[in-house]
């Protein structure tokens, strides 16, 4: 097992397209780092550069204490699980599992021993003599996983390993992966576009957008203190509400004004002024039905335009002032229907504020 470091790694293609811009990451020994981002964000490119499948344009990559920047994939001793599983179709499950050991000319007895052990741990023993075509999607996925485990590599690389599985199997396998990480305590880099996988699996999560790292943080820190508008909008479901507007006054007693919404702000000290974007998670908005609480100065009137019931909760789309679609997640018990007039409230503590021109998070005055 080993630490992986990316030092100002840059990747650009001859046509001028930059797939990775100045990516620096320090992945601790035994950490599971999730690279997450929309498609085209460069996350797979970063993974492939760690594997050696893509050349680095500039910068360095270190695995353990070894500079592997110019080493071919064969010499890096990492294992990779592809989205397609990439099982060798002409080989049996046994030979697939043992492939990495066989090409390294390990003795047959040692290969058999390790393959048997890995197959046992993944429940593949009964399938060892089958060919990949005779396996189900979940079984193929486990073979791909087993092939990585058998090698006992310095690090595991996963490229969207769950995206070809159906929903039930995906969540089962996700849990299995989390257990595997606990058991092996191995360094893992995991690429996904699915924020649920990122949040549930990652020791830390690195959010990528347009080839650049946006934020690297533990999952909850990412959720609570997104570093910029992109991360704020990408992490969390449904996505964070954003309202453009201006800040009136500074420090304590300042207020937000925009799109017909005016809200008292927490103390931002001298950090914020002028044009800002206010962000609030749908889960933070509270709704009361009827006009009863009109006296509550912090709440404002809104119209319900759409209700999506999810069983345990419901997603309510509100319109107020110039805002056409403000999303709130409220308990399923609350009786709301399309056309209702309700009063909505955003607790000051739940407000995120971003600079309108840079998109960066504005932090509160330290108290």
């Amino acid at each position: 097992m080993a630490r992986i470091r990316l030092d100002h790694v840059h990747k650009s293609y001859p046509n001028g397209y930059s797939a990775a811009r100045d990516v620096s990451l320090d992945i601790a020994d035994g950490e599971l780092l999730v690279l997450v981002g929309p498609s085209g964000s460069g996350k797979s490119t970063v993974l492939r550069m760690i594997a050696g499948l893509e050349k680095v344009t500039s910068g360095r990559i270190l695995i353990g204490d070894r500079d592997v920047t110019d080493l071919p994939p064969q010499a890096r001793d990492v294992a990779m699980v592809f989205q397609s599983y990439a099982l060798y179709p002409h080989l049996t499950v046994r030979d697939n599992l043992g492939f990495g050991l066989a090409v390294r000319r390990q003795p047959a007895s040692a290969i058999k021993e390790r393959v048997d052990a890995a197959a046992e741990s993944l429940g593949l023993t009964a399938l060892l003599d089958r060919k990949p075509a005779q396996l189900s999607g979940g079984q193929r996925q486990r073979v791909a996983l087993g092939r990585a485990i058998v090698r006992d590599p310095l690090a595991f690389l996963f490229d969207e390993p769950l995206s070809n599985l159906d929903a039930q199997l995906r969540s089962d396998t996700r849990t299995e992966l989390a257990r595997l990480h606990l058991r092996l305590a191995a360094t893992m880099v995991y690429v996904t576009h699915d924020q649920v996988e990122a949040m549930t699996l990652g020791t830390r999560v690195a959010v990528m957008h347009e080839g650049a790292l946006q934020q690297v943080a533990p999952p909850m820190a990412l959720y609570r203190e997104p570093a910029n508008l992109f991360v704020a909008g990408f992490i969390g479901s449904p996505g964070m509400n954003f309202v453009r507007g201006r800040m009136n006054g500074t420090g304590a007693g300042s207020a937000f004004e925009g799109s017909g919404l005016s809200l008292a702000l927490p103390d931002y000290g001298a950090n914020a002024s002028g044009d800002v974007v206010l962000g609030v998670r749908p889960q933070s908005i509270t709704i009361t039905t009827g006009q009863g609480d009109a006296a509550d100065g912090d709440s404002w009137a809104a119209a319900v335009v759409l209700v999506e019931a999810l069983g345990s909760e419901q997603i309510v789309h509100l319109a107020t002032g110039e805002l056409r679609d403000l999303v709130a997640v409220v308990p399923a018990e609350l009786a709301v229907a399309v056309g209702d007039q309700v009063r909505a409230k955003i607790p000051a503590g739940a407000i995120h504020l971003f600079d309108a021109s840079t998109g960066r998070r504005i932090s509160r005055a330290s108290s």
């Binding site: 594997a51 050696g52 499948l53 071919p72 994939p73 064969q74 890096r76 001793d77 990492v78 294992a79 990779m80 592809f82 397609s84 599983y85 990439a86 099982l87 060798y88 179709p89 002409h90 492939f99 990495g100 090409v103 390294r104 060919k131 990949p132 075509a133 005779q134 396996l135 999607g137 193929r140 092939r147 090698r151 690389l157 070809n164």
Partner: protein, 271 residues
Amino acid sequence: MSGRVWWRAALAALVLFAALPFVWAMIASLTPGAVLGGAPALWPSHPTLEHYRALFAVRSFWLPIRNSLVVAGTTTALCVTAGAFAAYALARLEMRGKRAILSLILAVTMFPQIAIVSPLYMLLRSLHLIDSYPGLILPYVTFAMPLAVWLLVGFFRQLPRDLEEQAMVDGASRWQVMKRVVLPLSAPGLATTAILTFIYCWNEFLFALSFTLGPERQTVPVAIALFRGQYQIPWGEILAGAIVATAPVALVVLAFQRRIVQGLTAGAVKG
């Protein structure tokens, strides 16, 4: 329902159209020489093997068959092995001018054979290769190789790239990737290429006629063509020879047909 009937009828007509000359040749090759010029029959009233007997006993047809096997076999082996390496490099390795190389390779096949028979003859004569196996194999390789490379490039490109990358990450060298993953998976492609190359060499006439001097090195098509004497054309033996020349190739194609069509990569990715 009626659509299916039409479909079958059309298929039957096509098969009949393609197979009729061969069937006719087969029937005629079994018909005694005396009645060969008469009204054609669907089945000879007195089938005979006399033409085949004559073919091997009198004309020692084994000799051209041996020559054809040697020339076509060697050419095929050379084309498939060298072609596979060239094609893999062109399909997968990063290098400049790949497109230009592929176009150049294809351009070689553009020369009409008849246009280069004379220069090739002079070349082979000065190399003392006239009436020798290499004298046929070398020109055949030049002409068959482009087709082989193009076919194989197509097959290699179809292979999921993930598999090769997986093998490399698993620690396999380029050579091991080729040997353990690419070649086994492109077996259908290699078989197809081999068969097409073999058929090309087996049927080739112009070079074989021009670059050989006598029966010692003549191939099957040349031998059959030279059966005709000054005063008579031994149709029975010519057709028997044609059957003997065609049957093995047809059998090989039929035998490999399944393997050629079969998608060996099933189950490799997704599914």
